[in-house]
Structures are given as C-alpha cells and as structure tokens.
C-alpha cells in the first residue's frame, strides 16, 4: 500500500502538468466551439434556406461520427493533406472545437427558439435592424438560458478530451498511461487520474452554476 502511495506521490507533479494540458485543450475547444457555434445557431434560426441547410449539414456531419474517427480523419488526413503542420495539441483543439460547435449550436438554437418571437418584433418596431435585435435582445437572453446545457457540454467535452491520447497529446490520461506502464502499477495511477477528472468536472460545473446565478434575470421564473 505504501508503495502505491509513493508511486502516486512521485508521479503527481507529472500528472498535474497533464491537467494544464487538458484544461487548455478543453478551454480552447469550448471557446472555439462557442465562437463558431453561436453564429451557426443564429444562421440556422434566422438565415435563409441555403445558410440553414449548410449549417444543418455541418451539424449532421460532426454529430454523426465518433470523435476518434474525426480526430484521425483531420489529424492524419485533412490537416496533412492541406499541408498544415499542426501539433497534436492544436489539431485536437481544432477537431474537438469543430465538433463542439455542432453541439453548442444546437444548444443555442434551442434557447433562441424558446424566446417568444414578440421581443424580436418589438425590437424591430423601435427601428433596430435584425442584426442589432439579435445582438442586443436575443443573444443576451439566449446565452443565459443556454448555461445549463452548456455546462453539460463542458462535462462531456472534458471527458472526451481523454481520447486525444490516441494522437499523443500529453494530457492526463496519456501521462497516467506512461506512468502505469513504467511502474507496473496501473490501479493507483488510473485511480488518481479518475479523481482528477471528477474534480475537474465537478469544479467546472460548479463554476458555471455560479455564473448562472450571477447573470440570472431578477424575478424571472419565480413565483410572484
């Protein structure tokens, strides 16, 4: 038992550096997905049939394939084909981000569509353009409503990030695996790895809960 603890203790700094990679990867992918996913949601709701058609196709593609297939397809296939010389880390952010955009766009789309259409009409009636109305009226509300769904996306993406092990990103699981093969003590190492993931998941979700409460619209959804 003591030897197990010693292995954990010794490898801990090494694993923690993996946490930085994992967190960076998840933040990068979530951020990238957010930046693409939001306009996609807007395009799907307010765009013409061509725009919403293209977006639907995008969503269909990225939701339809296993994340590992996407990762191989882009990292070994498309990116090298296009002559991009990307590190595994950057490629992983791009692929996870592109995929997350598909999911996030659907979270935001649902939120936008749950707002009553009347607010859009009211915004137009005081002379706002469609873009101004979306930016000033629709998105601030839709994004608030999206936080619980988005929190879910964070938890899923965090756990999916472990799959970048397959292309050699030096994240938590990759490192845990190295240590386990070197020390022949998989159990304590993978347990540590599991605990780290649980803390990251819980911590992130908790932070988003705090955010949700902070930006909550007073009186909204309360009994009066």
């Amino acid at each position: 038992m003591n030897e197990n603890l010693a292995v954990i203790y010794q490898s801990f700094p090494y694993l923690i550096r993996g946490v930085i990679i994992t967190v960076g990867l998840v933040m990068g992918a979530l951020g990238f997905g957010f930046v693409i996913g939001t306009p996609m949601a807007v395009g799907q709701v307010y765009g013409n049939k061509y725009i919403s058609g293209i977006i639907s196709f995008y969503v269909w593609f990225f939701r339809g394939l296993p994340v590992l297939v996407l990762l191989f397809l882009f990292y070994f296939g498309l990116f090298s084909l296009l002559g991009f010389n990307l590190s595994a880390f950057t490629a992983a952010i791009l692929v996870l981000g592109l995929r997350s955009a598909a999911y996030q766009s659907q979270i935001f789309r649902g939120s936008i569509q749950s707002l009553n259409e009347g607010q859009m009409l009211a915004a137009r009636s005081i002379g706002m353009t469609k873009v101004e109305a979306i930016w000033n009226i629709i998105l601030p509300q839709a994004l608030r409503i999206s936080i619980p769904g988005w929190s879910n996306e964070y938890a899923i993406l965090l756990k999916d990030s472990a799959i970048t092990y397959a292309v050699g990103v030096m994240e938590i699981l990759t490192r845990a695996n190295f240590v386990a093969t070197r020390t022949y003590r998989p159990m304590p190492i993978f347990l540590t790895c599991a605990v780290i993931f649980i803390i990251l998941t819980y911590g992130g979700v908790k932070l988003l809960d705090l955010l949700e409460n902070k930006v909550k619209i007073p009186g909204y959804g309360e009994e009066r």
Binding site: A122, R124, S125, I126, N136
Partner: protein
C-alpha cells in the same frame, strides 16, 4: 379647423394574403395629426395584420403606406428609419425580459438613435414618469404587473418620439382590474395630442377617445364614422349587432 391639420399617416389599398387565405382585401384610411382612430371588428378580421402592414413588420402584397407624404412601402432599405417614427404597442407587451424598465425604454435611444447614455437615461426616466412608473424604473419585467408592463412598453414607444403610435389590443392580455391604468395612460396621450391608431374591444374607451371608429370585417372596412354615428346610427346592421354584442361582453366601462 381640423380640416387644416396635416395628414400623418395614409394607408392606401392594402392587400395581404397568407397562402390562399386573403387577410386584407384593400384597406384604405388616413389619419391627421393629433387624431385617434379606433379599429374594431371580430377576431380574424385582419386588424392586427393591418397594423403590422403599416410599420412593415408584415410586408403587404399590394398597396401603399405614406408617413407624412413619404412612401414607406417604397423605401425598403430605410424601413428602420420609418419604424422609429411609428411606435407600436403589442398585446403581449413584448418587453425585453433581460432589461430593467428603464433600460427597456433607453435601449432604442442608445442603440438606434445613438443618443448619449446620460441623455438617454434622462429621457427614458421622463417617459417612465409620464406613464407613472418612475419608481419602478429599476425593476425587471418579471417583477412588474401586466398593467405596469404595458405602461413600460408605451413608454418605450414614446421615447422614440414617434409621429404615430399603433396599439394592437393593448389591454386584451390584462386582468380586468389592470385595464383601467393602461387606458388612462392612452387617454392622456390622446389629450396631449398624440396621433394614434388603436385596435381594441374597449367600447367605452373608443367612445370617449376616438375621433373616428373603423369597423373591420373580412379584411375590409365595413363601416366608419364618429363614435356618435357608429353607436347610434351605423350604416350597416352588422355594425350595430357587433357593437351591441361587444358592449354586452365587455361592459360600458371607462365612460
């Protein structure tokens, strides 16, 4: 004397269909500065669609709208400029839920009129005062009663200094005891010389405020005239029946 006043809004032969269903079959009327026109009629007669065609929230299939002699229907690109000058008050208030009462009134001034923030706040506060809600300025829509919400939405329309305000059944979604406060505000606007088109079922209100009542049915204007004429001596039997029924239903409050 009224004959000399200038025409603020002219509606010419508006047609609108959704698919095969003809909602509006050629509606024309005009309204002079400071007048209040009340549009009545059974549901489905095209009253709301007509209002939306006026500020182009719904694009009419045919016909023209003029705002102070400028054709609204021909200037597709400038429509946002025209809409600023035509306030609209909706049945369901349609306040911006994430903004306080004050910000609801302010936002058009800041984002559309590009007014200085401090100036916008002062003006918004003034408008809220006019509808008796300066104390509620920092409350959110979900913290306001229906009547208060509707008054905020009137203040929001007023803040843009419109040439005309279109009211789409402003009291239909309200509890009976809250109707009075909203009608009071609209009445005060009428007395203050605001030009207004009001779709409503409140006959007492129509009687006391309207310069003219327009009776619509089947997408057409069937009858129109002063409240006195409409209530006592309408041209059509149908108008009399409708007025009788609606007065029964909604009572003669606000006389």
């Amino acid at each position: 004397m009224k004959e000399n006043k200038k025409i603020v809004l002219r509606v010419e032969d508006i047609h609108k269909s959704y698919g095969k269903e003809k909602i509006l079959k050629g509606v024309s009327f005009q309204i002079k500065k400071g007048e209040t026109k009340v549009i009545i009629g059974p549901s489905g007669s095209g009253k709301s669609t007509l209002l939306r065609c006026i500020n182009q929230l719904t694009i009419p299939d045919q016909g023209k709208i003029f705002l102070e002699n400028e054709e609204v229907t021909r200037h597709k690109k400038e429509i946002n400029q025209f809409r600023q000058k035509m306030g609209m008050v909706f049945q369901d208030f349609n306040l911006f839920d994430h903004l306080t009462a004050l910000k609801n009134v302010e936002i058009g001034l800041i984002k559309v009129k590009k007014m200085d923030k401090k100036e916008a706040k002062e003006k918004a506060m003034e408008e809220l005062k006019q509808v008796g809600l300066e104390k509620q300025a920092n409350l959110y829509p979900a913290q306001l009663s229906g009547g208060q919400k509707q008054r905020v939405s009137i203040a929001r329309a007023l803040a843009m200094d419109p040439k005309v305000i279109l009211f789409d059944e402003p009291t239909s979604a309200l509890d009976p005891e809250l109707i009075g406060e909203v009608l009071e505000v609209i009445k005060n606007l009428a007395m203050g010389g605001m030009t207004m088109v009001v779709v409503t079922h409140e006959m007492g209100f129509a009687r006391s405020v309207a310069n003219e009542i327009i009776f619509m049915e089947d997408g057409m204007i069937k009858d129109q005239g002063t409240p006195y004429k409409m209530f006592n001596n309408p041209e059509h039997e149908r108008t009399r029946k409708f007025l009788y029924k609606i007065t029964e239903l909604y009572g003669k409050s606000e006389e």
